[in-house]
Symmetry: C2
Subunit: 419 residues, 2 copies
């Protein structure tokens, strides 16, 4: 697939539209009239999949699959269905389509729609698989010589997070309270978080279930699509709690994802190789082809009522491990995987300072405050700050966008136990 | 509630029956004729709740709640419903009940039933909240002086596990493969686990949902009931992977639970105080009453085709943190909790050697093999071994049992990628 494919939805036919016919990402939307339901983005419109199914334009199964506010049923149907659905949507929405007359009334202006979580998150796993990020954090905490733990170059390090805390872009994020211990106090205290941070990540969504170890190629085939992901992190809670069993409440307040699931098919032209391997990976984790993607990633920070400043600019290609390798590792113990499992890539940082995907790295642990275009300075997030992640793969005359992954930090409650 | 309460189901009326009228635990069962459905254990019988609901004997809601193979819907209905249901079951099954004639045909012999997971596990969290266990493990890994991490006496340390790996008692457990590194090798290898272990735990099941921090008393009220739990652990996988983000694949193969949810109401007479606090806990985690339970816990190990040996004997009272404190901590960041969330207590060990709840501790890291009654020796689990956890609260002339939590170790696959 090279070059822009054109649609009879005119707004989709520009080089910088995030949702051209080449993309066709899956979401869940509602309007004043319509209950939450499955939809596909095309230009500045959403095709109502429930209505299209009712009208007989799309048929995946004898039973309805689009009358629910999540894509999990389609995910579980597997690769052949995914291919067939995409082909059918392409046919319906292409320039000159015989279905145009029937489909046109089923379009809803994106401006009229409210977007919801596009799938039920079964379980959520977060990895730590960006080498620049791990090196930066390791250098700050353990010194440059011990920056990467001994296992890091052999295994995609990950931990289980909380699926219940995953929210869709646009959801406000309440600054958490937590147990903290300052270096100058002997005992911990329960206080509002002081070092609240973002983590710029991509999320891979498992479509096909498995209940035994799968190879990297199988894992790649099991992935349904990708979203942008911000793993909000309370660095001071994390510092006190994370030894010996890893992050827990520091990562449990919220994780935001972008509202549209961009399919693997749409990203196919943007596959990119992983970086050179310092140690050859064990056979079950070895690269079998280009499994990363060339996706341009940007983060802006807007203080309350002020203009946004771009604080980071990097690329998903910077990862050391692909989502397929992470998923293969995830199954290596026999761990069953379920449709709707969400795998966070880990924070994505590039080599240069401006390419760092967290304020922890950007402000070097709070020691080097950032100056925003507004003149404000930041070490960590302040109340009222709006964080926005954007991602785009740039093709020949077209763009594959994800929709913003955005959230505003609300002040901590005065008393989190007051009802 | 003191003393044995009698039922017209005669087998329930003995001092050592695990399922007297005082207990009434909730499970899911099927028979050759009946699809999986909700049931209540009484003596050596199961009351078919779906049939009882259809017959009008139990009514919790206008819609049916017992025609599904899980108790989550009842959990979500909240404390008042839990109290009403227990009272009604008590009435139906008591000696002299007016409902006996109608209820008797709805009993299924336990011997004819197959037991399933009693609830859909939403998310699974495992804690590390037994002081003797943490001290033993810490001493082995970091020396006696640094055994307990600095946070341990202030915070119930926990990490998120995999809900998808939770299985019901009786499920065989396949020895996993994983990435391991022996101290005498420079590089890791992908091999079958050599140090496969059990962890004797209790599991607390969240009934009432929450989306903001809750107090210890609220947390106690949100818990629906308890099960026995064996968190199968691959110690060699864990040793290589767990720094810096905690256990991941080492804990993802399987976690077994006992088949009957024992309600908080049944355990009420057995409440026990937590041990003395070395540091006063922060207000939001402070004890507000006896929140542990006096539950006698035993583990047996039976080599293939041989008699079992009791390898551990301890008590749930030995925990440092209660499930209510763990749940309160779990919500402190605002982490949303969902009906069906399962909280593992952490390994339960007492002060003496025979009271240790893992082979890691019993064999002191493999250095002191156990000799079983059969003459066999063990450091870690061998293929064919059957592990059984049993729990009982002993009242005045009656017993509250959980049903066995059992599993047999199957040999690792020759090639986990062969289909």
């Amino acid at each position: 697939m090279t070059g822009l494919k054109t649609s009879w939805v005119a707004s989709a036919n520009t080089a910088d539209c995030p949702f051209p016919l080449n993309n066709l990402p899956y979401g869940v939307f509602s309007t004043d009239e319509l209950e939450p339901r499955c939809g596909v983005a095309i230009g500045d419109m959403i095709l109502d999949c429930q209505a299209a199914e009712e009208a007989g334009l799309i048929t995946l199964d004898e039973a309805a699959v689009f009358d629910v506010p999540f894509w999990n049923d389609v995910m579980e149907m597997g690769t052949e269905t995914w291919v067939a659905l995409r082909a059918r949507l392409f046919e319906i929405l292409s320039t000159g389509s015989a279905d145009q007359v029937q489909a046109e009334p089923l379009l809803v202006p994106m401006a009229d729609g409210t977007l919801h979580l596009p799938f039920l998150v079964s379980e959520y796993t977060d990895f730590y698989a960006g080498r620049h990020h791990a090196t930066n954090v390791g250098t700050m905490f353990r010194g440059a010589e011990n920056a990467l733990p001994p296992n890091w170059l052999h295994i995609p390090i990950g931990y289980n997070g909380r699926a219940s805390s995953v929210v869709v872009s646009g959801t406000d994020i309440r600054r958490p309270w937590g147990q903290l211990k300052s270096p100058d106090h002997d005992l911990p205290a329960f206080l509002p978080c002081r070092r609240f941070d973002l983590e710029l990540e991509m999320g891979a969504i498992v479509g096909t279930p498995s209940d035994s170890p799968i190879t990297v190629d199988e894992a790649d085939a099991h992935i349904f699509g990708y979203v942008l992901l911000n793993d909000w992190s309370a660095r001071d809670i994390q510092a006190w709690e994370y030894q010996p069993l890893g992050p827990f409440q520091a990562k449990a307040t919220a994780t935001s994802i972008s509202p549209w699931i961009v399919t693997k098919a749409a990203l196919e032209p943007f596959r990119a190789d992983a970086p050179a391997r310092e140690f050859e990976l064990l056979p079950h984790l070895r690269d079998t082809g280009p499994m990363l993607y060339d996706i341009d990633l940007r983060v802006t920070l807007a203080p309350k009522g002020k203009a946004p400043t771009e604080i980071a600019h990097t690329n998903y290609r910077e990862m050391y491990y692909s989502a397929a390798q992470q998923l293969a590792h995830h199954t290596s113990s026999g761990c069953p995987m379920t449709p709707g499992d969400l795998l966070g890539s880990g924070t994505i940082s590039g080599a240069d300072k401006h390419e760092r995907g967290s304020l922890l790295e950007l402000s070097w642990g709070g020691k080097e405050p950032l100056t925003l275009d507004t003149g404000d300075t930041r070490t960590f997030l302040e109340d009222g700050d709006t964080l926005t992640l954007r991602g785009a793969a740039h093709g020949d005359g077209y763009t594959i966008g994800f929709g913003d992954c955005s959230g505003t930090v609300l002040p901590a409650l005065d008393d989190p136990y007051k009802r």
